[in-house]
């Protein structure tokens, strides 16, 4: 083959290969072409502690170093929750949620997408603690001052109670329920989250556009 036809063939070959690179660089890939919508559940919160608390006696407290005289000691487990999602009265998902970590005492994270047919739907998301409340919770609310609570340790009982209350407030409550009617547009994602401040499940507003 003389050089001129070979040059033409080389140019054609190069052009074809370049076109192939360009074609491979960004073909539209049908992704979720089913025109369906999504219901997304996403939150991260601490599960409740199911504890039995005991008030230590004066003698027990006196045996301990001053900085370790925690008045109320609690032992127990971390709660698990039953999640149930209903759309138009039909259960589309139900499962048990537990906290993270081997002992399930870490925050409980959830991220899940459920396919929903576009249109108006009655949606119920219910999260219910599976464990019963301990019979005796009185000790956890004990704020009796002891002789040891003096000096820089004055008011320790109140602070302990406050800390237990704070943890309880931050934890997922025993029952959560979102009962609402929503209109799902095609390809739209409706996001349900847990508002730790208000202790409710809520529909999330779209974030600020980037």
């Amino acid at each position: 083959m003389t050089s001129a036809p070979r040059m033409v063939l080389a140019v054609i070959g190069t052009t074809l290969m370049l076109m192939l690179v360009a074609a491979a660089s960004g073909p539209a890939w049908r992704y979720h072409g089913d025109a369906q919508a999504r219901l997304r559940l996403s939150w991260g919160a601490r599960p409740e502690r199911i504890e039995v608390c005991r008030t230590l006696s004066e003698a027990e407290l006196a045996d301990r170093p001053e900085h370790m005289r925690q008045r109320v000691e609690c032992e127990g487990t971390t709660a698990s929750y039953a999640l149930e999602i209903q759309v138009d009265g039909r259960v589309i998902d139900s499962r048990v949620l537990r906290g993270g970590g081997l002992r399930h005492d870490r925050p409980m994270y959830l991220l899940d997408d459920l396919v929903i047919v576009p249109g108006e739907h009655h949606l119920v998301v219910a999260l219910t603690r599976r464990e019963d409340e301990p019979v005796d919770q009185m000790a956890a609310h004990d704020t009796t001052q002891t002789v040891a609570d003096t000096g820089i340790f004055a008011g320790r009982a109140e602070r302990e109670l406050e800390e237990r209350d704070r943890r309880k407030r931050a934890a997922i409550p025993a029952r959560l329920r979102l009962d609402t009617t929503l209109v799902f547009q095609e390809h739209e994602v409706k996001l349900v989250t847990f508002d730790a401040e208000r202790q409710i499940l809520q529909l999330h507003r779209p974030p600020i556009e980037r």
Partner: protein, 514 residues
Amino acid sequence: MRALDAGFTRLYGWRHNPLHQPGTMAVTMLLVLLATGLYLVFFYRVGAPASSVAALAHDPWLGRWLRSLHRYASDLFVIAAVFHAVRMFAQRRTWGARRLAWVSGLFLVGIGLMTAWTGFVMAWDTFGARLAVEGARMLDVLPFFSEPLSRIFSGEGPVQNAFFFVNLFLHIALPLGLGAGLWLHVSRLARPVLLPPRPVVWTTIGALIALAVVIPAPLGPAADPLRVAASTPINVVTSWWLPFTEALPAGVVWLVVLLTGTVLVLVPRFTRPKERVGMDAPSVVDPRLCTGCNQCPQDCPWDAITMVERDDDRPTLVALVDPERCVSCGICAGSCAPMGVGPTGRSGRDQLATLREDGTLVARALDGSGSVPVVAICCAQAPATHRAALEARGARIRQVSCVGNLHSSVVEFTIRRGAPGVIVFGCPPRDCIGREGPKWLDERFFNDREAELQPRVERARVRTATAAPGDLAGTVRAFDDFVASLARLEPPRIEPDVDITLICDPVPMGADDE
């Protein structure tokens, strides 16, 4: 592989065949990526990734085509690197000294793919978001993160700048790792070649620029976590795996990646010859013949030979071959004037012994049975069709494992025993399995490199040429030109009594000299 090679040689010629140099092509693309990336990073904002990349994509001047060039260069980098690996595997160039290059090359491809991954995430279009979500899903099964990374993209809030900052950091840091990995990749080579010939470099870059100008790289709509994209522009070259992994549990994906990676890393073990004999025999040194000239360590492409102290009373050093590094290319045999080193059966001495036993040339000349044929010495990799064509044109064919293995004395004695001329057909220099065979052959024949072709040999009777798959016409033309040039010379002076055994040291390799 050979058919593909031949096709590309027909199109571009063996000198500029891009398939002969995929590794250096990948390095070229890496340089293009660094140059274009340096420009693009100045316009990227971690606080507004999608809009800043969109602004670049819509910039009618430099930004648009530099971004496209960056993208196409990354595609070509991956294509070239993967093809390089496939080629090395197909040519069994993965064991011995090349094991480190193979393993480091695998990691380089992996780092390249991860860099591309972070690059697409930087753009934060629908495709970038899809890659980010998939990456987070993969990482979430590992016990490293206290909170699942996937929730970053749930839509509860805007994706934090910190994420894009870390992603940008990775996109810059990973290529630095590529640089370090590249150093490791070529560290076992005596003289690594990092770039293709200039015409190939500039033609490739020019073609990619033209492509970037004519067909700008696509950019999907900005990612919106609260909207499911019906379709996304997906980069098939770097992210072909995405639709498959999305359909599988993350644990299964990790398992597949780990198994595949393990098998690939173990390839040198599978491809290593079970017994180092025949064409796989490592070079050995006969210390009685070694003069300590230091030439074989200089010519060895793999740094497999070192000079060490002798254990006798001679004042010189002696060559020592590391069989673990030696890949049996035989180039050392061609470099040794006293023929003291080389693979068993392929040393200069073995080559001369074969020539001595072949008395056909002289016999023909003496009994007048016909004209003495031109001798064509071909590399074992030369296509059989080329050898057949040469034979059909009257050439007497001899074969060597690599033209770099050919000892110049073989050519000298072939001519002195009556051959009118010797033409040596090697592989295209960029496709030599011994790496430097054609280069050292030319140096030894025409530039007095040790072990040089002796001055008494008429250079007009010796020629080197290339027998490239896909260029049979070139091989035949080179032979015909050579034969025509020989016709213009005086008839060769035949030395029927030349005794190779007397001229060479008669001590056989490995024999006891006591």
